[in-house]
């Protein structure tokens, strides 16, 4: 087996055709017209607004836009939520484990850096709320799409690899001086 194949196998692969959230006992409601595509809009702007809203209300912090990157941004903590329905894609948020623990601590009303389990839980929930807020902002998406339960990945040297190869949008912010990025990958 060649080295390229080994490297591919070590990557974290996320297929963007996300399953609808919830269990087999989910309610019977279905979107009235799930095949109707949403109207085009400024996806990146709506993603940014949803992100800022979540951090201001649930984390209690205003994000700022970093003016310049003084060092390479190497995130080792990511959360993702799939969107499936009239729009298919993936919302993900990336930062460092230190920043994720700090976000968890802020959400829980503590000044101390939170525990790892809290960070995973909180970061996944932040991503969940961003994805939910994003689709709530766009006409036709709130009822036309389902979102998955969050998935959190942490550790060094992983790559999220989109099989959809669709449109990609990213917003970068600074949270208490630490960088985080929020991305939207749309199904091609």
């Amino acid at each position: 087996m060649d080295q390229t194949m080994n490297a591919e196998q070590e990557r974290v692969r996320i297929h963007l055709s996300a399953r609808a959230a919830g269990s087999g006992t989910r309610g019977a409601w279905k979107p009235s017209n799930p095949t109707q595509p949403p109207l085009r809009c400024d996806w990146r702007d709506e993603l940014a607004k949803a992100t800022l809203e979540v951090f201001e209300i649930m984390v209690g912090s205003s994000l700022t836009v970093p003016t310049e990157l003084s060092s390479p941004f190497v995130p080792d903590f990511a959360a993702m939520v799939g969107i499936a329905g009239s729009l298919c894609g993936l919302v993900s948020i990336h930062t460092t484990s230190e920043c994720a623990r700090r976000i968890a601590a802020k959400m829980l009303g503590s000044d101390e850096v939170g525990a790892g389990e809290d960070a995973q839980d909180a970061f996944g929930e932040v991503c969940n709320m961003i994805a939910g807020g994003f689709k709530a902002r766009i006409a036709g998406l709130a009822d036309g799409c389902a979102i998955s339960v969050p998935t959190v990945i942490f550790g060094r040297d992983f790559t999220l690899f989109s099989l959809a190869r669709g449109e990609h949008y990213e917003v970068m912010y600074s949270f208490e001086g630490k960088l985080l990025s929020v991305t939207l990958d749309l199904h091609g």
Partner: protein, 126 residues
């Protein structure tokens, strides 16, 4: 200050803590706080404990919040307990379905303590 025995249902433990804190910030004295991470666990707790208020997420593993409400309303002793859905699913279809199944109210995440106060406290008796 109103007192209440409360059940919070969410697969996120962080979110359960935040909701509990928001209730206290809203001026509610929580005399008993029960937590469940899915609808199935919540049903068991609701059958075994007298409750004044339930706050439930929708998207959860094993049994989601909508199915939880539907089954809860089939339990005679639980038919009058106010159930507020707290969820990222903000579509009108979800709201209508939740209310049709027996939910008493709906709050979209992210939420403020003020929203909890406005929509939860009036539903409590006493």
């Amino acid at each position: 200050m109103k007192q209440a025995r409360v059940l919070i249902v969410d697969d996120s433990s962080v979110m359960r803590k935040i909701v509990g804190r928001s209730l206290r910030q809203a001026g509610l004295e929580v005399v008993q706080l029960l937590e469940a991470s899915n609808g199935s666990e919540a049903l068991t707790l609701a059958k075994e404990n007298p409750l004044d208020l339930i706050l439930s997420d929708i998207n959860m593993p094993l049994m989601d919040g909508l199915e939880f409400v539907r089954q809860l309303r089939c339990i005679e002793s639980a038919q009058q307990i106010p159930v507020i859905m707290i969820t990222t699913e903000a579509g009108e279809g979800h709201v209508v379905q939740a209310l049709t199944l027996g939910a008493s109210g709906y709050i979209r995440k992210p939420f403020t303590p003020e929203q909890i106060k406005e929509r939860v406290i009036p539903l409590l008796r006493g």
